[in-house]
Point group: C2
Chain length 574, copies 2
């Protein structure tokens, strides 16, 4: 198995030059995040990731959690690795200091999450879902619930879950049927079945805190009638609550993550407490969701990074055939062959691109937290891009990683195939990428008649000197005008390629900025010249290859839904 080394220098460079972390830590609230501390946190997480979590990645894949009569046993070694995570305080970074947290910027927590998730994606889902539960409780929980549950969620002694999906309520959350009825003592009785519940049951923590969407009696139909409840596995008095894991799924990837069917109130005795107001479930859910969407975008980065490292190591080591341009030169490492090198450069460029995009969004999360003007709006715009493009690219890079390995890539022992399997869930969960694209062209575009999109385009134009990128901004500007006025069907039909175009524009912009910074540092003889030279090479490759590719999508966007409904569904299926 190839060693995994979290890309700390790259993370730091992106924090400095894309996120511009110094602007954030110059504010009193985040003043504790001094440069040395940032370094220490990134290094510490990298060490935990490389030494403890990464070696368990294949263990989790080949020894998935076992379910037996409501009990889920995690793979060997996971309890110890989780304990190290808890003892190191790695879940506490961005949580409020009032509840055992360190109150540091979210971007730092993203850096930590990147290293841990790249090391072991399936394992990292437990901590990720816990962060979402923390966020929901911080924003919407009563002081009593916060006091009772937040400290142990923040430390990671307890873990959290999100219980949204039901068999007939997936993307359409409003169709859910789980119910909650008042018990008269301030608590509620929750009843229903949920599916696809990540870390719904496991043996890593003393307690599991389920956040459950359900309908109260006489609630209005659809999303307006949904409320959020906190349902602990163990009640405050230590007794077992009436919530159980009915089975776990056999999945394509992320085998280490137990995906549970959860059953609430089989014995009519499942106790829950309302989080936020009755019917405030959707709002609270979006708090969890938006955080989770950025984190899933980050998973694209994680797998892309891991797959790239593995492919590069193989391509350096595997010797096969002389260079075609030097047939007498003897066999060379395959990384010397032009098409393999093209694949490696593409993997590196695409990985750095989505890291920039996701970290930039996380930076806006911190700025929004600080109340900086425009940050919340920019965050809202970047969130669907980070989630959908981050995961689309993650899938592409993992597939290229298999390809670089040739036949060995198809053999499970190599490990490249696991990345290809693991990453495939990311364009699906936390809102499919189709839902992200709909969010982009709907709420985020029509919602303000394109104002935020035009602001983003203006920012790109004010900074870029690249002709291809400028051409892309022109196309996107025109298409934005078209989409804002288009019919709902046309807009949605165009949403996926439009999302890709906007994402590539944003990535190109943020990469070019890094290239400029790298060139400046090199010119001044500052920084690590090997790192900076490599950065320039990937930036230039992205601008020369990926940006014009995205321009090729313009016709598809302009076409919209033309012809899409020429056939009935049945005719289309015939």
């Amino acid at each position: 198995m190839v060693t995994f080394r979290p890309p700390v220098a790259e993370q730091r460079f992106v924090l400095d030059h894309v996120v511009r972390l110094a602007e954030i830590t110059s504010q009193d609230q985040f003043a504790a995040a001094e440069s040395d501390m940032v370094e220490a946190i990134l290094d510490g997480a990298a060490s935990l990731a490389a030494n403890e979590w990464a070696p368990l990645n294949r263990v989790g894949d080949t020894n998935p959690p076992r379910w037996n009569d409501t009990v889920v046993t995690m793979p060997p070694g996971f309890r110890e690795a989780y304990r190290t995570y808890v003892e190191g305080g790695w879940g506490t970074i961005a949580a409020p200091s009032a509840f055992e947290g360190q109150g540091l910027p979210s971007t730092l927590a993203f850096g930590v999450a990147e290293s841990l998730g790249a090391a072991n994606l399936g394992f990292s889902l437990g901590p990720m879902l816990t962060q979402g539960a923390i966020e929901a409780l911080v924003k919407h929980g009563s002081p009593e619930l916060q006091a009772a549950y937040l400290p142990k969620l923040v430390t990671g002694e307890w873990t959290g879950t999100m219980n949204l999906t039901e068999p007939n309520a997936g993307s359409d959350v409003g169709a859910l049927r789980s119910s909650a009825t008042p018990a008269g003592d301030g608590s509620w009785r929750v009843k229903g079945n949920k599916i696809f519940i990540t870390f719904g049951e496991h043996d890593l923590a003393e307690n599991i805190i389920h956040l459950v969407l359900a309908r109260t009696p006489d609630a209005p139909a659809g999303t307006r009638g949904i409320s959020l409840f906190l349902v602990p596995k163990f009640l405050p008095d230590g007794s077992r609550n009436d919530v159980h894991c009915a089975s776990i799924e056999h999945k394509l990837g992320i085998h280490a993550s137990p995906t549970c069917v959860m059953s609430f109130g089989d014995n009519d005795d499942c106790r829950g407490w309302l989080i936020g107001p009755e019917f405030g479930g959707m709002r609270a859910m979006f708090t969890m969701m938006n955080n989770a969407r950025l984190n899933v975008g980050l998973q694209g980065v994680q797998i892309a990074e891991r797959a790239t490292q593995q492919a590069v190591a193989y391509a350096l080591e595997r010797v096969q055939s002389p260079r075609a341009s030097n047939p007498e030169g003897g066999p060379v490492a395959i990384i010397e062959h032009p098409d393999v090198r093209r694949m490696i450069l593409r993997m590196k460029a695409q990985t750095q691109a989505i890291r920039s995009l996701v970290y930039a969004a996380a930076g806006e999360l911190d700025r929004a937290h600080l109340g900086i003007e425009g940050a919340k709006q920019r965050l809202d715009l970047l969130t669907p891009l980070a989630k959908a493009h981050g995961t689309d690219v993650g899938c592409e890079v993992a597939s290229l990683g298999v390809q670089v390995h040739g036949g060995m890539g198809f053999i499970e022992e190599t490990g490249a195939a696991q990345h290809y399997r693991d990453v495939r869930i990311t364009p699906i969960y936390e809102g499919t990428n189709g839902i992200q694209a709909a969010d982009l062209v709907g709420r985020k575009l029509v919602g303000d008649e394109g104002a935020q999109m035009h602001a983003l385009i203006a920012d790109v134009r004010s900074e870029t000197k690249n002709a291809g990128l400028l051409a892309l901004t022109d196309q996107i500007s025109t298409l934005t005008g078209v989409l804002v006025k288009a019919s709902t069907d046309d807009r949605l039909a165009a949403s996926a390629p439009y999302l890709t175009m906007v994402s590539v524009m944003t990535c190109g912009w943020l990469l070019e900025r890094q290239g400029t910074a790298a060139a400046g540092l090199l010119a001044n003889g500052e920084g690590d010249s090997a790192f900076l030279k490599a950065k320039l090479a990937t930036v230039n490759w992205y601008l020369a290859h990926i940006v014009p590719e995205a321009s090729g999508l313009a016709a598809s966007v302009a076409e919209g839904g033309k012809g899409l409904y020429d056939l009935t569904a049945e005719e289309l299926a015939a």
Copy 2:
């Protein structure tokens, strides 16, 4: 599990309007392939595929072949299903009538192979490799070897293998070390180890005929020193030959296909017979390979078709959310949502595109067989396109199939994930897609200074009326001129996106031709109007969306290898 129905009407339409089968069967040699017989063969294969092979697809995935001390036991049901295949004579279609074959056009055999492979890709590899062995023996074997081995290979009572790869000789076949020394009696003693040998051992047939590349004593280095040997598992006298299966691989997909490590001559008693002249191994291998490359391109079609059918069935059945354009209309099947419908149309259009491309290449195989002028050259040009683009698109469509299923796509029981896993080998084996791209820009482009490519472009231009496609031909024409004169590195660096552009141009051309035919038939009130209307919709979608996307690759091709070697391999890896 969703029912699979081979697309017989579509196959027939492509044979009639793309391959123009009537031109081929108008020749005496293929006169037996009358329209009724074509129909009967396609229908019969479809029935075998749907009723016997398809139900075993998941069986093979979840109960892979078991290896135990050189013996490989195939999954339950496979022996019976293979017997039905042999008894139906399904392997005999295109084989010479002198050796139990039917002597029918290869395109018909491709139609049969499409249905069977779509039903059960892993299973179909056995028959596919056998076809390659037959081809090599027909073209290069001595009359004695032909008489001894061809009849039972043709009927399928015996199966064949291709033994090329060794641990240090993959893409670089010339590096192989297996040896063959003369035994003095006209036979040879073969010794060595081969890996990735598909159906190297199994219990479906009475005998397995291995075609093995090896070096004779004092052979020159590299590919010039390679010879091809026939090594039967059981010798003509019925005794067991000294060739054994040392283990089988644990793979990402095509679990039903035993991928074997083969050991020849452990006891210095492995007997083989030379096929063709000494040092003629590469030529004979290319006979097998070229056939196999088209067949692997066809595997892209197979999985694309299967994945599309499954996604369409799910999208018709799964009800979720009202249409955004009609929020009060109540929940609809997800195929009604614009972005899902876009994915379905893309899957259908891409599948039909690669079917056209692969069948067109197979048609040139038949024409070349008939000695029709220019057919061999066109076949040579289309082969890397069919292999690489067919499999790239197969992967894309299978991934879209997972996406259409949402969360269910990630659950193995659904079956969508199996297609995504199975298809991932196809861009790798029989020459990686990088090797195909190198073949295209090297042997096929520089070899004749672009003459064949310009002939293809001229054919497209003479027939198309589509502005986007014409623009693509202009780009390709210019880039072809550039590549012919470019340095080897630039040409190879540009080879992958160039291959995609040329493939899409070819697909667009062949689809537009079908659209024109469909419109004509509709106007005359002939044919199945539902089928023809659907054909028009997918053709139009392809021309409007996929063709301009391919134009977006022009900048990348023009860029060539610029910057590709700015970093050393070590700097790139840092």
